[in-house]
């Protein structure tokens, strides 16, 4: 049977098991929206901005582990996706983005709403395609989904000229999943794995430094096995929060710029760093020349290009971290380095995360309360800034895929749309979006989407009237010159949500917090809690940019 290109897209999405797409229609993508209107068996959520659509697809992907799908029209629709593509690219999140394009005969003529999105998106996608012949459409979509979800995942964009959406051909969804030029390292070199085991057996002061790759690979169980078998303390990156239970005595919490002092100290004093599914980002390593100075480094990652990119490693192992850990756990012997564990324990006791918990409504206190009420079982979604770091520090993550945040790109405005995707992907779990007043206003329009879709999201607004993280840097490194970080002209956020038809609660003191949280979390609709927090609260501890990670401000 002959189908139109647009219908083929719909059929392919069904074959890929897509449950929901996020997007906004427009001229050049109308045939696809029409085909979905007629034929789609999956949900189709209208966001209010294309950036909202792609962040929602991203949040959905992070919570479910499936490929997120978003759709935009040509021109401005497509360019509005770019931030979301970059966001997913830097955090290795599987997304397939469809964009409309002007008809093939108009391409290159600067037609109305024409933009070279495949050219624009090259550096921020894992791969992209422009389909100029409807006969190639099904195989392109097959390849795109395969590439997005396998290996080191990432966003893939498919540009669909309008005439290709309208052209007809026979539909046949290809079965093949091997593509020229796309090879996946999987198993890891056995000899190297044995060498790694020998080093772990020998090490007196080992530390595991685990990243988002553990989540992607689903290797949390194997990670725990390794840590428990050889009694190795575990620190995670921002992207890795939740892969190891933070309430366990071997947990060091997060490392890096706003990590715990004990995690940073452990890594700096270690004689062996076992880096798993992670990429030695500058926010983790601080001054690179002094990172892990006394340690041998084992680096396990699926992307060969990450090996040796920032730090030289002693034992590189390329492959799927779950499969490699399964092997490694066989080879490693049970042991307990008592001296080291004692040192680590002392560090944890001496330098805990701390803040001045007075009568004020402190953001750290708010996060602790959320942790208490949700019993650490909620999905926490954040935007970017101070609130993100407080959420990373003061909530206790015990499960993978429960901390959803923009890591690599640091996209303010990520939170609300990502929370929408997270709630759609995991409707039974409590989803708490934590945002600053700066971040929130970068995608504030998606309140309408959350309400329209009846998504019970609790949005905690950490309202300090500042672009708080930038203000903090201005305070610390620019002699308190608060250049354009004061958010004068903020709306009354409670009234704003009410104007959309939702519920807003203002919380100005500690006493009001508990009832507000309880009300919001038991509601079956979107609720915003506008928390008026101290204006100049800072995130500590902190590694100043360019410093080694043991030199932390706010540690005494």
């Amino acid at each position: 049977m002959k189908l139109s290109g647009a219908e083929i897209v719909v059929e392919c999405l069904k074959k890929e098991g897509v449950k929901v797409v996020f997007g906004i229609p427009g001229g050049a993508i109308m045939p696809l929206y029409d085909a979905m209107y007629r034929k789609a068996s999956f949900d189709n959520i209208l966001t209010k901005h294309e950036q909202g659509a792609i962040h929602a697809a991203d949040g959905y992907a992070r919570v479910t582990g499936k490929v997120g799908v978003c759709i935009a029209t040509s021109g401005p629709g497509a360019t509005n996706l770019v931030t979301g593509l970059a966001n997913a690219h830097l955090d290795s999140i599987p997304i397939v983005a469809f964009t409309g394009q002007v008809s093939t005969n108009l391409i290159g003529t600067d037609g109305f709403q024409e933009v070279d999105i495949s050219g624009i998106s090259i550096p921020v996608t894992k791969n992209n395609y422009i389909v100029v012949d409807v006969k190639d459409l099904a195989s392109t979509i097959k390849e795109a989904f395969h590439i997005a979800r396998t290996g080191r995942p990432g966003p893939v964009l498919i540009d669909l000229p309008k005439d290709v959406q309208l052209a007809h051909t026979d539909f046949d969804y290809p079965k093949k999943d091997r593509f020229l030029g796309y090879q996946l390292p999987v198993k890891g070199n056995d000899k190297q794995i044995k060498n790694a085991a020998i080093e772990i057996d020998k090490a007196k002061k080992p530390v595991i430094y685990a990243g988002g790759g553990i989540i992607t690979s689903g290797a949390s169980k194997e990670l725990k096995e390794l840590a428990f078998k050889a009694n190795i303390p575990v620190t995670t990156t921002l992207m890795g929060l939740g892969v190891f239970p933070e309430n366990h005595s071997l947990s060091l919490g997060m490392l890096g710029m706003h990590g715990t002092f004990y995690a940073n100290s452990a890594v700096s004093n270690a004689d062996l760093i076992i880096a798993l599914g992670t990429r030695f980002d500058d926010r983790v390593t601080g001054k690179l020349a002094e990172f892990g100075l006394h340690a041998k480094i084992i680096h396990i990652d699926i992307d060969p290009a990450e090996i040796g990119k920032n730090v030289l490693v002693d034992i590189p192992i390329v492959g799927d971290v779950k499969k490699i850990l399964q092997k490694l756990n066989e080879y490693v012997h049970e042991k307990t380095e008592k001296e080291w564990l004692k040192t680590v324990k002392e560090l944890k006791e001496k330098y805990p995360l701390k803040y001045v918990n007075n009568e004020e409504l402190k953001p750290q206190y708010i996060i602790e309360k959320i942790n208490e009420i949700t019993q650490g079982k909620a999905i926490i979604v954040t935007s970017v800034g101070q609130h993100q770091m407080w959420a990373a520090q003061y909530y206790q993550y015990t499960q993978p895929r429960t901390f959803i945040s923009s890591g690599g790109l640091g996209t303010m405005g990520y939170g609300l749309p990502a929370a929408i995707g997270a709630k759609v992907g995991s409707p039974k779990k409590s989803v708490v979006c934590i945002s600053g007043d700066g971040s929130f206003q970068m995608n504030i329009q998606e309140i309408a989407t959350a309400l329209k879709e009846n998504l019970a999201i609790t949005l905690i607004l950490m309202n300090n009237g500042y672009l708080g993280m930038v203000r903090q840097w201005q305070e610390l490194f620019f002699d308190r010159r608060y250049a354009k970080t004061t958010l004068n002209g903020n709306p009354d956020f409670v009234k704003l949500v009410e104007a959309y038809g939702g519920t807003g609660i203002r919380v100005s003191n500690k006493k009001e917090l508990n009832p507000a949280l309880k009300k919001a979390l038991s509601s079956n609709s979107f609720v915003l809690i506008d928390c008026i927090i101290p204006k100049e609260e800072n995130v500590f501890p902190m590694v100043a940019p360019g410093s080694p990670i043991t030199k932390m401000l706010g540690v005494d």
Binding site: S118, G119, I122, P123, K126, N127, I130, I147, F179, L180, G181, Y182, Q183, D303, P304, A305, I307, G308, K309
Partner: protein, 167 residues
């Protein structure tokens, strides 16, 4: 240090942009780049000359391999390969004496005259980059009108090949 890298890529639009974009974004410098078809259907071969130490070379190789359109990447070592560049050089010939002087230089370099008239002579040469440089420098005093160079291509000696392998 300079390295010569052979890159097999899928022969479709946008590949060159992807490779160029990668070099630009990662801060690698392309000294020269030559592209052409190969004996295998739908596979093109790029020969890229880059400057950098071993670590840079390793990163370039790995990053190139990550491109979906890249099929194979190989570092071609100079001691075990044949490298060639082709150049077309237009030189002024103010007089017959000068023309014969130029012709002598052309002979020494085993280059070829491919076009000539009373004012201009066009010379074709192939060889290593050094040889082409040397010829260009010898001809410079006569007045170079135009120089076109292909950039280097390279092939391994002996049985070693860079072909589409089963990936």
């Amino acid at each position: 240090m300079r390295h010569t890298i052979a890159v097999l890529v899928k022969d479709h639009p946008g590949v060159l942009t992807r490779v160029a974009s990668l070099f630009n974004r990662r801060g690698f410098n392309i000294e020269s780049l030559a592209v052409g078809h190969t004996s295998e259907a739908e596979i093109s071969r790029m020969t890229i000359v880059v400057e950098g130490d071993e670590r840079v070379l390793e990163q370039i190789t790995k990053q190139l391999n990550k491109l979906i359109d890249t099929v194979r990447v190989k570092d071609i070592r100079p001691y075990n390969s044949v490298e060639r560049e082709l150049a077309l050089i237009k030189v002024k010939t103010a007089s017959l004496v000068i023309r014969s002087e130029i012709m002598q230089t052309v002979d020494i370099f085993r280059a070829k005259v491919v076009d000539v008239n009373s004012k201009i002579i066009t010379i074709e040469t192939t060889g290593t980059e050094d040889k082409v440089n040397a010829l260009v420098e010898l001809l410079r005093p006569f007045g170079l009108e135009e120089v076109v160079r292909t950039g280097k291509i390279a092939i391994s000696r002996g049985v070693n090949t860079v072909r589409l392998s089963k990936k």
